[in-house]
């Protein structure tokens, strides 16, 4: 069992800290839409935090905020005692390179005109420790070594997502942010890729924020789970506590909607 839970081990200085963070989008007709409001979260070292909620609840916006791809309307984000500044036109500051992201759609996140080797080499250059090589990365994500010579179009969705994971790992991240990294994959691959991400992140000493709408996958890989609804975090707790003893009615609703694979013919909810 890879999911050992220990809520008390979060060290005094968390690796990543969100303090009352909010984010707003401008609407076409004037006015603003508050996608994320007053979110406070902490991520410890070597910890996997699952972030779950329905579409439109602000999970992806939160992921973008953490990576500096959106500008917070209020609050503070601190990574490794540095503030996370929104990314401008300039180069991302070196101390923020420790945050790497795996996106939802593997068809849009790889460059179609460059060989896999080149794309991985770019990311490898960011890691001063030289933990990985192209070959060891491909091996870690279960791809054949000749994949390095090929272009992204010759891979299936699951294979592309593994390349995207390899590329994120290559930079030697301290925090790996996965924004629905498994949503576009087959049900049979989802659990496997999710476990692969967890194992690779933890083995390389990184933490991970794993965003998903699928609570049953999050249950398999996360140490702690945060449940989001309408821009706010309604419940945070150890995975076992959320799974077995949910407090918030919304968490209960999410859990009861998961169809069981028991062949009983019962429609959930």
């Amino acid at each position: 069992m890879t999911t050992t839970k220990d809520d008390t081990r979060t060290p005094a200085q968390p690796l990543l800290e969100l303090d009352n963070v909010a984010c707003e989008y401008k609407l076409d007709g004037g006015g603003r839409f508050r996608a994320v409001s007053d979110v406070s979260l902490q991520l410890g070292r070597s910890e996997v935090l699952g972030l779950v909620g329905e579409s439109g609840c602000g999970k992806s916006t939160l992921a973008k905020l953490i990576c500096g791809l959106e500008k917070p309307a209020a609050g503070r984000i601190t990574f490794d005692s540095h503030p996370v500044k929104p990314l401008g036109l300039g180069r991302r500051p070196n101390h923020l390179l420790g945050i790497q992201m795996v996106f939802q759609n593997p068809y849009a996140s790889l460059n179609p005109r460059r060989r896999i080797r080149d794309q991985l080499t770019d990311a490898l250059a960011l890691d001063s420790d030289q933990t990985w090589t192209v070959d060891s990365l491909l091996e870690a994500v279960d791809l054949p070594l000749d994949a390095a010579q090929r272009f992204s179009h010759s891979f299936s969705g699951g294979q592309r997502q593994r390349i995207a994971i390899a590329r994120a790992l290559a930079a030697g991240p301290k925090v790996l942010v996965g924004d629905e990294p498994i949503a576009s994959l087959d049900a049979f691959l989802q659990a496997r890729i999710a476990k692969m991400m967890r194992d690779l992140a933890i083995e390389s000493g990184a933490s991970m924020i794993f965003i998903s709408h699928d609570l049953s996958i999050v249950h398999e890989i996360a140490d702690r789970v945060a449940v989001m609804e309408a821009g706010g975090v309604v419940e945070v707790g150890s995975t076992e506590q959320i799974w077995n003893d949910p407090q918030h009615p919304y968490t209960k609703k999410l859990l009861s909607a998961i169809p069981r694979v028991d062949g009983k013919g019962i429609i959930p909810g």
Binding site: E54, D186, H219, A257, G263, G265
Partner: protein, 264 residues
């Protein structure tokens, strides 16, 4: 008595000089009032089986074998004759509701188009039927919904509208290709309940294509498991899920979190 019976269906697609065998001797039946689930990984041919029934197999593909639809042979049926069945007797709902609708036509126009074409009913009568059918698929405020546009609805509501569009001509067969994959779990349960109700109330023969055994476990009556174009196992829902016979079925179910497979 099965509504559709598929026997030894083969599909080959030719690209350039290479021939690819998509379906190999696929055989199973669809029965009225029953949901037949087809499971398999991507590329196993489950969607192509559905499309073959609809007569929508890709260009430069050859279909052989037999699909018997209440006495009509669908394999090799001229496209004009297939057109007369499609939308009227054979209906389909697709995976992504947001791309299944034309963004610039009102809901009322889109879901009555085939009704007016096949049944030659007046525009007024078609709209009246659209409102009734939207009520049946539990779209909120059907009278207002007919004059709205797709972007004004959520994904779950659009999928309900897609089901309304599919059943408006009172079809005998409904093919639902991953109807809940693009939706949230909480919305998924509602769509599955709708599918079950439509199947029972209208005595539809439903083909439910999905890779999610959770979905099949909730609504399917019989399950067909496919692997690279071959049917590896067919059976009733509960025995197939709790005690799969074929190694591939077992591996699929075991790969899911929280599956309850009895140890062999």
């Amino acid at each position: 008595m099965s509504v559709i019976s598929i026997r030894d269906l083969n599909l080959t697609v030719t690209t350039g000089s290479a021939e690819k065998h998509i379906l190999r001797d696929v055989s199973f039946d669809l029965e009225a009032g029953k949901i037949t689930g087809v499971a398999g990984a991507s590329g196993s041919g489950k969607t192509q089986t559905g499309l073959a029934i609809m007569g929508l197999s890709p260009d430069r593909s050859t279909l052989s074998g037999s699909i018997d639809f209440a006495g009509t042979e669908l394999v090799g049926l001229p496209s004009k004759k297939h057109n007369r069945l499609r939308g009227r007797q054979l209906a389909m709902v697709f995976q992504d509701p947001s791309s299944a609708f034309h963004p610039m036509l009102s809901i009322g126009d889109q879901i009555t188009d085939h009704l007016r074409h096949h049944r030659k009913v007046s525009k007024k009568e078609a709209l009246r039927q659209a409102i009734r059918i939207l009520g049946q698929t539990k779209v909120p405020y059907p009278e207002e919904a007919v004059s709205k546009y797709p972007h004004q609805f959520s994904g779950g509501q659009l999928q309900r509208i897609a089901f309304a569009s599919a059943i408006i001509c009172e079809p005998k067969v409904l093919i639902a290709d991953e109807p809940t994959t693009a939706l949230d779990v909480t919305v998924q349960a509602g769509i599955l309940r709708l599918l079950r109700e439509l199947c029972d109330d209208l005595n539809l023969a439903v083909l439910l294509v999905t890779h999610d055994f959770g979905v099949l476990s909730s609504v399917a009556d019989t399950i067909v498991v496919m692997e690279s174009g071959l049917v590896v196992e067919t059976g009733d829902r509960e025995p197939l899920i709790t005690a799969p016979q074929h190694e591939y079925t077992r591996s699929l179910i075991e790969s899911l979190p929280g599956a309850e497979v009895s140890p062999r």
